[in-house]
Symmetry: C2
Subunit: 319 residues, 2 copies
Amino acid sequence: MTPLPTPQQLRYLVALADLGHFGRAAAACAVTQSTLSAGIIALERQLDASILERGPAKRPVFTPLGLELVGRARAALAALSAVAETAAAARDPLTGPLRLGIIPTIGPFLLPRLMPALRKAFPRLRLWLREDLTDRLAEDLQGGRLDLLLLALPAALPDVETLRIAEDPFVAALPQEHRLLDQAQLPLSALGGERLLLLEDGHCLRDQALSACGLPGAGGGETFAATSLHTLVQMVAGGLGVTLLPRLAVAGGVLAGTPVVLRPIETPPGQVMGRTLGLAWRARSPRAPEFRSLAPVIGEAVAAAVARIGATPGAGGGG
Amino acid sequence: MTPLPTPQQLRYLVALADLGHFGRAAAACAVTQSTLSAGIIALERQLDASILERGPAKRPVFTPLGLELVGRARAALAALSAVAETAAAARDPLTGPLRLGIIPTIGPFLLPRLMPALRKAFPRLRLWLREDLTDRLAEDLQGGRLDLLLLALPAALPDVETLRIAEDPFVAALPQEHRLLDQAQLPLSALGGERLLLLEDGHCLRDQALSACGLPGAGGGETFAATSLHTLVQMVAGGLGVTLLPRLAVAGGVLAGTPVVLRPIETPPGQVMGRTLGLAWRARSPRAPEFRSLAPVIGEAVAAAVARIGATPGAGGGG
DNA sequence: ACAAAACGATTGGTTTGATCGATGACCCCG
DNA sequence: CGGGGTCATCGATCAAACCAATCGTTTTGT
């Protein structure tokens, strides 16, 4: 068997693929250009494979095999650092950098509560945040650019482990002086006759609200779609229709200053109409035990928020 | 971030875990004991983790973290050699060693045909064979001890890619002078009244035959179970009952010298009663393209065998 | 069209660190 | 109590990874 490639060589290869430039790649690896050049050449010779188009081209151009090797190199380097990460995580659980992805229907409403709680519970944790739609977060998780996701379950992702955190019930949001306001609780059937406002496509909350109302998902031409929960609330306030809001968003102040009025949703006893919040990480992540121990703290933050608003299910912020 | 562990150090670690002995592990790595010892110590220092119980013990004893690290080290080394394998596979497709696992209801009947065909098509391929039940083959595939499986689909295995090779229809096998022999084709319902002989538990053919007859799988106390298709045929010949045989096994001579008689199974037009043969390999295996190009050769061998027996669906070997 | 700049490959000399052989410390067994 | 066995330590050695400087070629600027 041919000798295994050196991690150094793989780092050079990946840096070159990322930056497309010997000099900059060398700088990124903290070596001189000559070293990186020699490293790439040595790798090609050891593997007996042509990685770069060695024609009279100025910029390095990768062969198909070269690109394949870059992918393998990334995976190998990740596996290598997983060894070190395992040791680091065992030595100092929940310290150091953690790249967390959050969906937009959770982030703005939970983070103001969550961050102080996390800082108190794990003072040495360095949290990097990224807010995006579930699909894009999942991509970044797989690609190793994120370590952990906070999103709505179920999220069936391959090679990903998930953990339930908390339930986030839906409440109905209606404009002032709406004809349904004389009922203390609204059955879902009552909403069927109203114009249901939704977030734009890609937000998982859109699909969850639709399925809660028993409506089909992809029925394109319904209504004008909002880009955020704040926008959505403004549309409700403007009398364009009604919507479902997660209690967590209400607790986070999404209604602040608007005349929108809330009503609990009437459900069969013992059943809850809402969605499940959870964590997700790469299966086989060295830090999985850490992530699991993170769950209670997040769950408490959610529970505290939802409980607080649960006591006042009437109008939102004191408009 | 702590520096990445050296592949060398990881090799030492894995060898030590495998052999449980510094001296022998060092010999396996082709270094002296002092080198390996120093390597392990350096790894522990770099990772700031205790891998071995450093008490006054004679044999090296791994800490829980140490065992975890061993697993990670194995994965990292595999990822590293996947880089080299990718290059090697691109350079010389279908050459070098290939560890193939085959289930016992295929192997003995196909290999005599398949091996010459493979040797002719890929002369530089060095085929290592292992015959076992699907479950155990799958374990070895995941563990990297096998590269490729030839088995009956569907085989829902995680992180495994499969490719359909060929269909292998079932035929009914009955003893001489059986009352059903006056029918040229047997409907499945006719078999329902007979005592159906099966392979013992663990053989996928057992479950496939049961499901073909519409019978439940785990109904423990049916009948005496055979340990191989040859045994099963002997039991049929002895008048203990009837069974279903894959045509491939018949073509491979499983009936040789026995008075067992075959009858095709009556099926709705355009439908086939049988099982699907296929290949399976680890998803993300560097050699996946090679394996895919192996499929036609195997498919031809199966087709040639089945076609040959298809012309003479009567009695088996000239007993 | 020509000059200047940018880029990657090559060369020669330096230094780091992995490895070896030998030795030391310790335990178990007879 | 002595011998065999096992793992850790020590000093010397040597390969290879690295850097600075240079060369040949292509691209860019005017």
